[in-house]
Symmetry: none
């Protein structure tokens, strides 16, 4: 049975959605604000999340971003606006679909089913970046070196992904900070070095002589293209 986390602060809507989903054969988890949504998502690993954008406190965009930092769970956004632009923003942030309020619960269920189908279909053939002994499964956020899985933190993964997507291309520390933290100000560029150090310890055969993530003196780092 598929489990859906519904994040919605308006009780009436939450109840409506829950009833419909139950009836449609889903198990429903509920959260009324951003922080509890995040911890529930982490604890329960639902198969999909329905997220209202207009939450009190932390807004839906932030929730999405932080979910995406560690997970590729499918997300459907609920938004009060009918602008068709939502789709673009949603997709940019990593949502899989959106539904505008007022919505018919029937439609919501249909979209949930569609997204779940798509997610399952994509499961096998997800986007994978390969480079040398490295394999990066983007939707699963999983990395293997010579077939052996290595555990990376969120930052390490983001860093590696940016670098490995364009081997040979050189990135400055500032660019890499952007990749890891969104926009970075008031921040110490050399924290990138620390991540690189940890990353190398995990993926390099000999971290003292890195062959995958290479330093470009005076400029930044690159993924080896040799």
């Amino acid at each position: 049975m598929k489990r859906v986390l519904v994040v919605e602060d308006e009780i009436k809507i939450a109840r409506l959605v829950r009833d419909y989903l139950n009836q449609a054969g889903f198990e429903v988890l509920e959260a009324a604000d951003g922080p509890s949504a995040l911890s529930l998502a982490r604890a329960e690993r639902p198969d999909m999340i329905v997220l209202d954008l207009g939450l009190p406190g932390m807004d839906g965009f932030d929730v999405t971003r932080r979910l995406r930092a560690t997970s590729s769970v499918p997300i459907i956004m609920l938004t009060a606006r009918s602008e068709e632009t939502d789709r673009i923003v949603g997709l940019e942030l990593g949502a899989d679909d959106y539904v505008t309020k007022p919505f018919s619960p029937k439609e919501l269920v249909a979209r949930i089913r569609a997204v779940l189908r798509r997610a399952e279909a994509t499961l096998g053939g997800g986007e994978v970046v390969r480079s040398g002994p490295l394999e990066i499964d983007i939707p699963k956020r999983r990395v293997t070196v010579d077939g052996a899985e290595v555990e990376l933190t969120a930052s390490e993964f983001d860093l590696l992904l940016v670098l490995a997507r364009q081997p040979g291309r050189i990135y400055t520390r500032a660019q890499l900070l952007d990749a890891v933290r969104g926009v970075s100000f008031e921040s110490y560029e050399r924290s990138v070095d620390a991540h690189i150090k940890n990353l190398r310890r995990k993926i390099e055969a000999d971290p003292k002589r890195p062959e995958l993530v290479v330093t470009v003196y005076g400029v930044g780092y690159k993924f080896s293209d040799a």
Copy 2:
């Protein structure tokens, strides 16, 4: 030096932003309303535009739309409202980022830098400069002479790139120092000579008789256009 057009009708804010940007090393152009923003943008071709949404007369969305009709200059929107709608519409119209008032000037500068970096990264995709036997791969910062790769330091690369991008154009030592060090204050111009020396040793067939990087007696250096 990057040039930023600031479109803002509130004088106090405009001045604040201008001072901060100047201090951060940007050249600032200013406009207080939509029409003058459009004509300034067309005439001056700034590297980036910071646009207040709450302008009198023509509103910021219109300005964005009309800018986008002819140009892909990066745009950051300033908005007093934190409404989702504004962000969504703004991004939909082609803004690159937005900052909500009240904002910290530091953050604005950070976002400007990030957007410019992103713009440059997108532009430079696969950009290669060729000139005679020389080939310069900009994103990879790789240089080959007659197919053979040569290893350059960061400064040597920057110097060579500036020269080779416009063969025949003569650069003074001061200009070349800018290229290497950002802004040159209080610095010994003849260190350029030292870089040129090292550069020639690496890329010239006969460093005693330079054919690529040529001295222009009494003025500076140029890349050969013959």
